[in-house]
Symmetry: C2
Subunit: 227 residues, 2 copies
DNA sequence: GCAAATTTCAAACATTTGATTGAAACGAAT
DNA sequence: ATTCGTTTCAATCAAATGTTTGAAATTTGC
């Protein structure tokens, strides 16, 4: 994905009302095309055809193709954020809060509060990171991860920067993310099995059980007890 | 990634000795380029330049660009398989066998027994699946997953097609795969933390502890005991 | 209604890309 | 040394691609 490289094109116009509508259509279609095909394979002609606008509109509104991509990405990140901060619930036992978090996280991972194409775009970014990934990690992933690490620390009775806490936090989030990243594999793997039609909620429930069991057991082992 | 679509080009030549060397160079370089840039963005000119061969060689040896891609993919899958079947060790307690499996799996996931570019190519395939993904799931992923499910079933005292077993197996493998799929995120996220320089072995050890704790605890809960 | 700003348009452009082609070079077998 | 098969070569081609440009159309503000 050679596109999101910096360009010398920095001028894009502030839109009037007509411009706003055109921009919105372009962003939505481009999001789909970039996600589906990747930056290089997605063409400005197809994007414009589908959006019903003239091909020069991309340069007029976004500077160039790369500018369009960057705006698409920014839009996706903003949408993620509009869902609100992905924080650990403030009320309840530690176990309840973990379960609550996992339900919200799983919903978020699965598709709530962002355009359908946004996760795929994120996955592409993870294969070929640009500076945009740094921004995403800093403003979204890190706060979420370390917020959860606080709760894991509580459950383990350790400091939240402890290596065991961080690894255990990774163990928790990875279970959720696998269903997103490996969705095509999961579909094929589970076809015809008893978990083929699992809902995000069912998965969240299981992950909560598995993780809470692990954490409480590890905590007891720390106290010298066999679990 | 529009490339791996079927083409009408089926003729490629069986190689003599010179051809074997040329093919090998092309496959290696193409693997890197396709992984790094994706099919569309990788160009036959750059691949040939780097391999030190004439541009017509691709059509001569592989039929066309798509044919080269398919052969690259086949090569990667073969290399994975040459590492031997990813099976649960036959000896030891169930816990020891799970730990042993996780170490081998983690090594495999992290980079042993295949070209450095192969996992990235797999990840691209997971974003835009082709028929090649079906083959990979069938011949590699499924046997590994359900082999592990047998061990998880043993640890849980349930049938190996039970929903809880399958979900728990997913919980185990996902912890390992996260480090591969989210490698760029993990690097950024853990920078400066106590787990920044974790080895695959350390991660496998933790995942084993976490998972064994979870499984034994879940088993006790099944028996009516609090864990 | 008018002038200025904004937006869109169609044609054109330069470059890139995968594929093709006839010939040359090379290797293998007799 | 010769013939045949294999492999590589350089030039060429057709199509696709992102970008540009001057003008026309539309919108906006007074």
């Amino acid at each position: 994905m050679a596109a999101p490289a910096p360009t010398n094109r920095t001028i894009a116009h502030d839109p009037g009302e007509q411009g706003v509508a055109t921009r919105a259509r372009l962003l939505e279609v481009a999001g789909e095309e970039f996600a589906k095909r990747g930056f290089q394979d997605a063409t400005v002609r197809e994007i414009c055809r589908r959006a019903g606008v003239n091909i020069a509109s991309i340069n007029y509104h976004f500077g160039d193709k790369a500018g369009l991509y960057r705006e698409v990405f920014r839009t996706a990140v903003m949408r993620f954020k509009e869902g609100g901060k992905l924080a650990v619930p403030p009320q309840g036992t530690a176990e309840e809060r973990l379960k609550g978090f996992l339900h919200v996280f799983m919903d978020r991972v699965t598709g709530k509060n962002h355009p359908a194409w946004a996760p795929t775009l994120m996955m592409r970014e993870m294969i070929e990171p640009t500076e945009a990934l740094d921004e995403v990690v800093q403003s979204m992933i890190r706060p979420t991860f370390f917020g959860l690490a606080g709760l894991v620390a509580e459950l383990l009775g350790r400091a939240s920067d402890d290596a065991v806490v961080l690894r255990a936090t990774a163990s928790v989030v990875s279970q959720c993310l696998w269903y997103r990243h490996s969705a095509h594999v999961v579909k094929r793997l589970f076809e015809g099995t008893s978990v083929q039609d699992d809902t995000p909620g069912q998965r969240a429930d299981h992950i909560a059980s598995f993780s809470i069991a692990a954490l409480s057991c590890l905590r007891q082992q720390d106290g010298g007890a066999a679990c």
